[in-house]
């Protein structure tokens, strides 16, 4: 059928001006898919048979293969708004321009065996977007800060990617195998996980699996109409679908903000129809998720949803559009990581116990949420965020600060404070190994003042009395909220009152 497709398409387009293109896929009956393979003839507008002349009717079958007449569908790029946690496939990622989903983990074929680095796979419009370049930092779940500390959201640096353009010629970034001047084919990019170079202090832990689905066993050699598949995206979660069409699809991707901007992918995408378990196969934010078959092999990279454009507004119908994974791997020169077979990488990069640094993200977000629920807390969070990057960089890179932080049990105290945020019954110890929380604050204030910027030194001077008093009264998140309420806000800057007057 695939071999016949170009001739059939040409023939139909010549004889029937209303025909946009022809796909190979499953015949539809109303909203339901049948198991019958057919040439799906996509028309501009569906007209009742009685209103057409006999010569205008598309034949019921071509060369013995049934036909199905369907109305043209349009698509819209998907993006994302909320947060996830574990570094596996199916979780939220962002570079600060919208949100998307981490698909799965891959290696580059060009790298020598034994020295292969791990990359994450997602869509170009997710991790490169409008302003991304090689080296752009990817954050999970929130926007990256540019830091390499254990608490920041940064997880990877963009390495390469490819995306279609309105002009019809693929735009590439970094090192890809796509020949120059190629037509629009895929929307995919990879980013190298942090911590794989000797000079990189950050460790990013990953598990070669998809959240809610399980381990990934590489990619599937082929995909067929009717295959049952599933995907996990950051918006709709785990959804099930059926491959509806695999070849010949002409898909027009409308920009979500400006539907008049259209990127055409002719022939490369596949269409996935949602099964009855879920109304939608995908929605905004699922871009970048991978579609897997029943053997947990990756078959496609999801990149858009299907819908209609009406008065400049796109309305999704629940179907998803994806690129076959072999197209993506061939163009980018990558291989999907496989787990659970001899000589493959272990199922997980690390043991469960070591995943804690990533899981801390949940606690941090809960802490932020609770703090921001009171006006004084909002100001307090702002102070923390103002200096977070510098402090974390000093802890990571400055020996004196690092030693002080660890000797006075900083990580342990932070862990208890954050755990207490989500579980108020979790006790905050009065001291750890003979060092109290106050001792930690005194020491950190001293080394940060000495090694940090003037701005940080001023903050230490301004807020030390508050910090020491807070440490004395602290026995949980509620006490922090109470303590913050006792400190009036500075009428000029809105921050908790401080000693130094404004210039």
């Amino acid at each position: 059928m695939i071999a016949m497709l170009p001739d059939v398409t040409r023939e139909l387009q010549r004889n029937y001006p209303n025909v946009r293109n022809v796909e190979i896929g499953l015949k539809r009956r109303g909203r339901d898919l049948t198991d019958i393979l057919a040439f799906r003839v996509i028309v501009e507008e569906k007209v009742n048979d009685n209103d057409l002349l006999p010569e205008q009717l598309i034949p019921k079958e071509i060369k013995g293969i049934p036909t199905d007449v369907l109305v043209k569908y349009s698509g819209f790029a998907t993006d994302d708004t909320s947060g996830y946690d574990l570094l596996t496939g199916g979780i939220q990622i962002t570079i600060g321009e919208g949100m998307g989903t981490l698909g799965c983990f891959v290696t580059r074929d060009a790298e020598p065996a034994g020295n292969k680095k791990i990359y994450l796979l997602s869509n170009h419009h997710v991790i490169v977007a409008a302003s991304g370049v090689v080296g752009t930092r990817v954050g999970q779940p929130s926007a990256p800060s540019g830091s390499r500390c254990c608490l920041c959201y940064d997880i990877a640096d963009v390495f390469c990617g490819e995306r279609g353009t309105p002009g019809g010629t693929a735009s590439t970034l970094g090192t890809v195998l796509t020949p120059a001047g190629s037509s629009n084919t895929i929307d995919a990019a990879i980013a190298k996980l942090l911590g794989q170079d000797a000079t990189d202090p950050k460790t990013v832990y990953f598990s070669n699996s998809i959240e809610d689905i399980g381990p990934v066993f590489g990619s599937a050699p082929a995909i067929l109409p009717g295959d049952r598949v599933r995907k996990r995206g950051r918006t709709t979660g785990l959804t099930f679908g059926k491959i509806e069409s695999i070849a010949g699809i002409n898909f027009a991707e409308h920009d979500k903000k400006d539907p008049s901007i259209v990127i055409n992918y002719n022939g490369s995408p596949i269409l996935v129809d949602p099964l009855s378990e879920n109304q939608l196969m995908s929605n905004e934010g699922d871009s970048g998720s991978v579609i897997l078959n029943s053997r947990n092999q990756v078959v496609a990279l999801l990149f858009a949803g299907v819908g209609t454009v009406s008065n400049g507004v796109v309305n999704g119908n629940g179907q998803a559009v994806a690129f076959p994974i072999n197209l993506v791997t061939t163009r980018l020169g990558i291989s999907i990581l496989s787990s659970g077979t001899a000589s493959s990488i272990p199922l997980s990069g690390i043991s469960e116990a070591q995943i804690k640094p990533i899981r801390a993200g949940n606690y941090i977000r809960e802490f932020e949420k609770q703090m921001r629920s009171i006006p004084e807390g909002e100001a307090f969070m702002q102070i923390l965020l103002d200096h977070r990057n510098e402090v974390m960089d000093l802890i990571n890179d400055n020996r004196e600060v690092k030693v002080a932080w660890h000797r006075f049990n900083g990580p342990e105290y932070i862990g208890h404070v954050l755990k207490n945020t989500t579980d108020p019954k979790h006790p905050i110890p009065t001291d750890i190994n003979g060092y109290s929380f106050q001792n930690l604050l005194i020491k950190m204030g001293d080394v940060l003042e000495r090694n940090g910027s003037r701005k940080l030194a001023k903050a230490v001077e301004d807020y030390s009395p508050f910090a020491f008093r807070f440490a004395n009264e602290y026995n949980g998140i509620d006490s922090l909220r109470t303590a913050l309420k006792k400190f009036p806000l500075c009428p000029q800057c809105g921050k908790p009152i401080h000693k130094n007057v404004h210039a």
Partner: protein, 138 residues
């Protein structure tokens, strides 16, 4: 100078909180003096942040009426002195000294902010029954 400290001692013993303050002071004064005199890091912190000058200024407030505690000398604030000395002493001192510093630094900074003379401190002690923030009396 000794006479002034004796007067201060007598005044402190008149209140419960003052007595407790003296207990804490006496428990650690020898170690602190030793560290200030012999531990390089502590000595440097004490001298560089004008510790002797601030102590003189504090005692002076009891000798000369209407004299106020200097809050800044040569660009170093009294708060900075307290913070830096606390950091140096807890680093070099015994676990007991470290605990005492952790327990009382907030109070010391608070009083430094609010009080301008020795009399102000004594008045504060009279108004309270115990030192705040102590995690235990040991």
């Amino acid at each position: 100078m000794l006479y002034d400290i004796e007067i201060l001692d007598i005044e402190l013993r008149k209140t419960e909180a003052g007595t407790r303050l003296l207990q804490v002071f006496n428990a650690h004064v020898d170690e602190v003096f030793f560290l200030v005199g012999h531990h390089r890091q502590v000595t440097v912190a004490w001298q560089r942040n004008h510790g002797p000058a601030f102590i003189s200024s504090f005692l002076e407030t009891n000798i000369t009426p209407d004299t106020l505690l200097k809050k800044e000398i040569n660009g170093v604030t009294v708060y900075a002195l307290i913070r830096r000395m606390a950091a140096a002493l807890q680093e070099a001192g015994s676990p007991a000294l470290r605990k005492a510093i952790g327990d009382h630094i907030a109070t010391v900074l608070e009083w430094t902010e609010a009080c301008n003379s020795m009399n102000d401190v004594l008045q504060r002690l009279k108004d309270m029954s115990a030192l705040p923030y102590e995690t235990s009396l040991s």
